[in-house]
């Protein structure tokens, strides 16, 4: 029963990892930018959530309503003012600049919030659980996170393949020059894509901060989980990213079940095995 439980909890945890990964995947898909600061932006969102929660005295889950648009604005501004200038034929400048950004965000957070671990409390929902037949026990909060992750991925999928924004994203990703000829200003399109990615980052950050404690240096670890979920699932496939997150979550929990020290190791090993066997991930991009 412990094993079944570990797997179920792993699946739910995978939803959070998919949230870490979705923005990363979106940005890479639209503009071939690998955002090294992605994890730090998640942690930034968690701290913003903390500030909103403590100032307004509201439940962190409601703070999303403020933090998500705020992160969206930050994303648009960041893209227009900084990141667009780094994009070109050379892939090195965006890597260097987002690495620098990562350092800046970490130090900024350290300056403002100190190195102390923080946690947001979502109240009674944190301990509520559903008892399923067979002794299975599912926490309401993890379940809520998982459902949110599925909804977020489904929404992104819809935006990407069914909306005018998504059409602009795909066209610009296909051929920037010709997209520009269609009247799309790629700087603006990229700004919108980053805004959307950081709205997802905001949701991920709040959930992170409710689930576990976090501190200014927690970003790179989230980045790794996000990367692994994206690569396992296959680049450019959002549902694949969700499955990648779930596989990562399950492997980590099985590892922890064997030996508590093996949690992260088991996840990394699963990632390496899949990378070795299927270098393009389990579900490489299928359009439509």
């Amino acid at each position: 029963m412990d094993w079944v439980n570990a797997i179920v909890q792993g699946i739910l945890l995978g939803g959070l990892y998919a949230l870490f990964a979705a923005g990363l995947s979106l940005i890479f898909g639209v503009m071939r930018l690998v955002n090294i600061a992605h994890g730090d932006l998640i942690v930034l969102a968690a701290f913003l959530g903390l500030t909103v929660t403590t100032t307004l005295g509201i439940n962190p889950l409601f703070a999303i309503v403020i933090v998500a648009p705020l992160m969206g604005l930050i994303g648009y501004g960041l893209q227009r003012v900084v990141l667009n200038r780094t994009l070109g034929d050379d892939i090195l400048p965006p890597l260097l600049v987002t690495f620098g950004l990562s350092v800046i965000i970490q130090n900024g957070l350290l300056e403002i919030y100190s190195a102390d671990p923080q946690k947001m409390s979502a109240g009674a929902i944190e301990t509520a659980s559903l008892n399923l037949p067979g002794g299975l026990n599912i926490g309401v909060l993890p379940l809520l996170m998982f459902i949110t992750a599925v909804a977020v991925i489904g929404s992104l999928q819809w935006i990407f393949y069914r909306s005018a924004w998504g059409r602009a994203f795909r066209a610009t990703s296909d051929n920037q020059d010709i997209a520009q000829l269609m009247g799309l200003n790629k700087s603006h399109v990229f700004g919108l894509a980053m805004a959307l990615a950081l709205v997802v980052v905001a949701i991920a950050g709040i959930f992170l901060g409710v689930r576990t404690s976090f501190d200014p240096s927690a970003g790179p670890g989230r980045l790794i989980f996000g990367f692994e979920a994206v690569i396992i699932g296959g680049l450019g496939n959002l549902w694949g990213t969700l499955i990648g997150g779930i596989i990562l979550g399950i492997c980590q929990n099985i590892g922890a079940q064997i030996n508590p020290g093996w949690q992260l190791l088991a996840g990394h090993l699963a990632f390496l095995v899949i990378l070795a066997v299927r270098p393009r991930g389990l579900f490489p991009r299928i359009d439509g």
Binding site: A164, R167, A168, R170, A171, S173, D174, N175, D177, I178, A179, Q180, L181, M182, G183, L184, N185, K186, D287
Partner: protein, 235 residues
């Protein structure tokens, strides 16, 4: 006296240090069809890229409707009413046929062209509207590229070698459709390597040779000898 829609004044264009166009000057009147001919590498595509803003120039080198546009971005130029059918079609592979057309129309300029009028012009596209654009034949892809440009309801439409790589029968179909397209009041620039075809559809012709205008004249007046000389630089 007819109105000039596009005026190019002493255009120099560069790829880094390499100069591809030298002092090119051209003028296109409203409703006129201009042919630009020239051998491979003469600079025809470079000229189209400069006009559409994919290459940046000095503002005063290109005037559109009397306003300098030489330094505008491509999306800004699209918004003032210039569209292009690019060389090699360059459809968006991630978009379906219909999405390729719709994205052409997203500038939301008003005019006669819409999804339904494009489907009327090329009925085969309506049958394939939900297919990936990459699944079409070369000729059908060219129809999408033309339809995509028309969807913007441009005042000036540039065609860059629309017959390139297509079977003669397809080329004929597409060229037969041209008068109907241009007849709707648009001005057009038709870039071709095929001299006969270019002269047949146009009012006036410019010949480019190694980045310079080597000949200019009314399509009915210029002799084949003169064209050959301007085209190849011999004769």
């Amino acid at each position: 006296m007819p109105d000039t829609i596009l005026e190019i004044n002493g255009l120099d264009s560069f790829y880094g240090d390499f100069q591809a166009l030298y002092g090119v000057s051209m003028r296109i009147e409203k409703g006129e069809v201009i042919a630009v001919i020239g051998a491979n590498g003469a600079g025809k595509t470079t000229l189209m890229r400069s006009v559409t803003g994919l290459l940046q120039n000095k503002p005063e080198m290109i005037h559109y409707g009397g306003k300098p546009i030489g330094n505008l971005r491509a999306d800004q130029i699209a918004a003032v009413g210039i569209a292009m059918v690019p060389e090699g079609r360059q459809l968006f592979p991630s978009l379906s046929v219909e999405e390729n057309l719709v994205i052409g129309g997203q500038i939301k300029r008003t005019g006669p062209w819409s999804l339904s009028s494009v489907y009327e012009l090329f009925p085969v596209l309506k049958e394939r509207r939900n297919q990936a654009s990459t699944s079409l034949s070369g000729g059908q892809q060219q129809m999408v590229a033309i339809g995509r440009a028309l969807m913007a309801n441009p005042d000036l439409l540039l065609f860059d070698e629309i017959s390139l790589g297509l079977a003669p029968i397809i080329i004929k179909t597409i060229y037969d459709a041209l008068p109907g397209i241009i007849g709707s009041g648009m001005s057009a620039v038709v870039v071709e390597q095929d001299i006969v075809k270019a002269v047949a559809v146009s009012d006036r012709v410019y010949c480019l040779q190694e980045g310079r205008v080597s000949l200019e004249g009314r399509s009915g007046d210029v002799s084949r000898d003169a064209i050959s000389k301007a085209y190849f630089g011999i004769g």
